[in-house]
């Protein structure tokens, strides 16, 4: 058990720390830092060679071991800097499942941020029971014609490409008849419509596909092998490391410590208890994320462990939001657009998105604790 940096890791950490420190003051961060701000930050990280650290160099990555990702996250978080870009796990999926042509075509612009991706999974009638998706893809000559509706697509209305899960074989077993497609969002018949969440923002979209033609070369993985790709994406999405939440939470802890330090009157026993519990939950997540990344890098990793990561991430998200609300007192209730309000409202999604907490608990119970299925 060794949490220390190797000489190479330590050198990288110093370099990253110096680079981050030179970027102060940072753009304001919140639980949902604006996409434009994140794009700008992503471009700066990219220019410094800090994007795709553990992806291969032939697709624009840095070819480093996965613990470099962990160092970057820790340093961004500890400095209170904006988080990494949230869609990194899609680039990783394209790299892992793409053909040689697909990898070279799609991963570099995805990493560069010049092509934005969204994920077309959930449907109005397929939420927790994702494998029951009804969006149909029917073979037509050298391609497929796709029709159906997707919902809860993060940034769908700003995306250039969609990684879409559709049913290609209605007669096959539920999980066997699915295929993943790479769909150009400018194709005829695609409509992306943002809708309003309980926070008041339009972050998610619903997508409509009306007889959209997709070339067969844009299948990701194998025809009929869509569930395998989906499961891999979900396990990456469930880890705190690939989606930028971890460093966002750490930044919030840093900002809160600063705010409380500058106003000692706020440091009541109740506030300190709430803040301490919140900060500790983020620290637990940091340690768990490092452990999961290490095991993943080593190839010794059960994807069911991602559900532990996800449940812990949801706890940290909600503990943090509730903790900040308590620590700063009721003033946040007067500011609907304030950071505490935003963080509190957004934190309710933590146990829903990327697979509900109930689904994660069932995975942990059946696959890690060996309990029988209901």
């Amino acid at each position: 058990m060794d949490f220390g940096d190797s000489a190479e890791h330590a050198a990288f950490r110093s370099r990253v720390r110096a680079w981050i420190d030179a970027r102060r003051p940072f753009p304001a961060t919140g639980s949902e830092t604006s996409e434009a701000q994140l794009d700008e930050w992503h471009a700066a990280l990219r220019a410094e060679g800090l994007v795709g650290l553990s992806l291969p160099t032939d697709v624009g990555g840095q070819g480093l071991d996965i613990m470099y990702e962990n160092i970057l996250l820790e340093e961004l978080g500890a400095a209170g800097a904006p988080p990494i870009w949230r869609r990194g796990y899609l680039a990783r999926t394209l790299d892992r499942f793409g053909t040689a042509e697909q990898r070279i075509r799609f991963v570099p612009p995805a990493l560069a941020g010049t092509e934005k991706w969204c994920q077309g999974f959930s449907e109005p009638e397929a939420g927790s029971d994702l494998a029951s998706v009804r969006t149909r893809a029917v073979q037509d000559g050298a391609g497929y014609r796709i029709s159906g509706q997707k919902v809860w697509t993060s940034g769908g209305h700003r995306a250039d490409w969609c990684l879409l899960l559709a049913r290609t074989d209605p007669d096959a077993r539920k999980h066997a008849g699915l295929t993943c497609f790479l769909v150009d969002m400018t194709s005829t018949g695609v409509l992306a419509r943002p809708f309003r969440q309980l926070t008041g923002e339009n972050y998610f979209s619903e997508l409509f596909f009306d007889d959209v033609l997709v070339p067969a070369g844009n299948i990701l993985g194998e025809a009929g092998g869509g569930w395998r790709v989906t499961a891999a994406i979900l396990s990456l999405e469930r880890g705190p490391a690939d989606i930028g939440f971890l460093s966002d939470f750490q930044s919030a802890v840093v900002a809160t410590a600063r705010a409380l330090a500058s106003r000692p009157g706020l440091q009541t026993p109740d506030a300190m208890l709430a803040f301490g519990r919140a900060a500790a939950s983020v620290e637990l997540l940091r340690l768990r994320a490092a452990e999961s990344l290490y095991n993943r890098g080593d190839g010794d990793w059960d994807p069911a462990e991602a559900s532990v990561d996800k449940l812990l991430m949801a706890r940290a998200d909600q503990e943090l939001a509730n903790g900040l609300a308590e620590a700063f007192g009721p003033a946040w209730l007067l500011e609907s657009g304030g950071d505490v309000t935003s963080r509190y409202l957004w934190s309710r999604a933590a146990t829903i998105r990327g697979g509900t907490a109930e689904i994660q608990r069932t995975i942990v119970a059946t696959r890690l604790l060996g309990l029988p299925r209901g």
């Binding site: 750490q250 410590a257 500790a280 532990v308 608990r361 029988p372």
Partner: protein, 352 residues
């Protein structure tokens, strides 16, 4: 970096697990045996538990992660070896006294929790004191400094009938104690801060074992106990709480390893912060976990014969020992606010 046990550490874990099969109070099935500390101490002798942790004054410590592995694994099967009391808590204090206590089987008696203050007859509690022959204590004197005391075993009062049935607790009077050494100078003060971090981590490790041991029994019960024609573990009302507590065990476990590693490799302030996180979270989570374990067992879990209450009691005791999560969350927050998170940020320690 290697965020996983080494082969040697896994081997040590396996040898403690094997010891537990011989000398554990918990049989891992819900049944339990009345193993005495003397039986367990004899059975553990070949492993040489006392040599694993090395805490010299003014020199790097070693064996902290191994000590956590041992403490967790002993607790998982409720092996009544006084490892935490003598090797983790007392020995590093005795190290401050040079060779004066060499050879004695020492029990710590420090009023670590403020509990003794509620007893008129005593000044301190010798916690996990089985097998002790001498008492080492840390006391704050009237000038605010700390001094190290040694008390003869004659000043140890009879065993307490404490909540935790798996370890021995005794009250201690310090009026016959003789001063060993005042805790003076940077080196000694740093030693004490590291020791505080170590003992918080040790109790957190104990809690990790308690939680894991209790949950394993509950999961086995949920797999086999049938009602309404099916295993009760197939009901989400049973399965989901167990899953959440499994998450807690995993979080507490990694926090405890990190704290132990930081006691060795970090600054004293970093070690204390890491230990506070581990102790606070393990305290809070183990109460919830062991309560759920009683609940999942239903009626059988409320019987004397089932081991669920042994885990519940030990978790409650450990939670209060060295203060519960309310104190440690607050202290953690206060340190974040006073030094800034940067002072305890990761990677500030030397390369591995």
């Amino acid at each position: 970096v290697r965020i996983r046990l080494t082969d040697e550490q896994s081997l040590l874990q396996a040898s403690i697990r094997a010891l537990g099969h011989k000398a554990g109070i918990s049989l891992g099935t819900g049944a339990w045996a009345d193993v005495t500390p003397d039986d367990a101490i004899d059975a553990a002798a070949p492993i040489g538990l006392g040599d694993i942790l090395q805490t010299p004054v003014g020199a790097p410590w070693s064996g902290c992660v191994e000590a956590v592995v041992v403490a967790s694994e002993l607790a998982r099967q409720l092996v009544p070896v006084p490892y935490l009391g003598s090797s983790v808590m007392a020995a590093p204090l005795a190290a401050l006294a040079g060779s004066e206590l060499a050879g004695a089987r020492v029990a710590t008696a420090s009023d670590l929790t403020g509990w003794a203050a509620s007893h008129d007859a005593a000044d301190a509690i010798a916690w996990d004191s089985a097998g002790g022959t001498s008492v080492v204590a840390l006391r704050r004197d009237s000038s605010g400094g700390l001094s190290l005391l040694q008390a003869p075993w004659s000043s140890v009062l009879p065993e307490l009938d404490a909540t935790d049935l798996t370890r021995r607790m005794r009250l201690v009077r310090l009026d016959e104690a003789r001063p060993l050494a005042p805790v003076r100078g940077e080196q000694a003060r740093e030693h004490i801060v590291r020791w505080r971090a170590l003992i918080l981590t040790g109790v957190a490790a104990d809690l990790v074992g308690v939680m894991a041991g209790a949950l394993a029994i509950a999961a086995a019960h949920a797999r086999t106990r049938r009602q309404f024609g099916r295993a009760i573990g197939s009901f989400q009302a049973v399965a989901h709480p167990l899953a959440e507590h499994h998450v807690s065990v995993q979080a507490a476990r990694i926090a405890t390893y990190y704290a132990a590693w930081t006691v060795e490799h970090g600054s004293p302030a970093q070690a204390l912060q890491a230990a506070r996180v581990a102790k606070a979270f393990a305290s809070e989570a183990s109460r919830a976990a062991t309560e759920a374990v009683v609940q999942v067992h239903g009626g059988i879990g409320f019987t004397w014969e089932h081991s669920a209450h042994l885990f519940l009691r030990r978790a409650a005791f450990d939670r209060g020992l060295l203060a519960d999560e309310r104190v440690h969350y607050r202290d953690y927050a206060a340190a974040l606010c006073s030094t800034g998170p940067g002072a305890t940020r990761p990677g500030a320690t030397g390369p591995s």
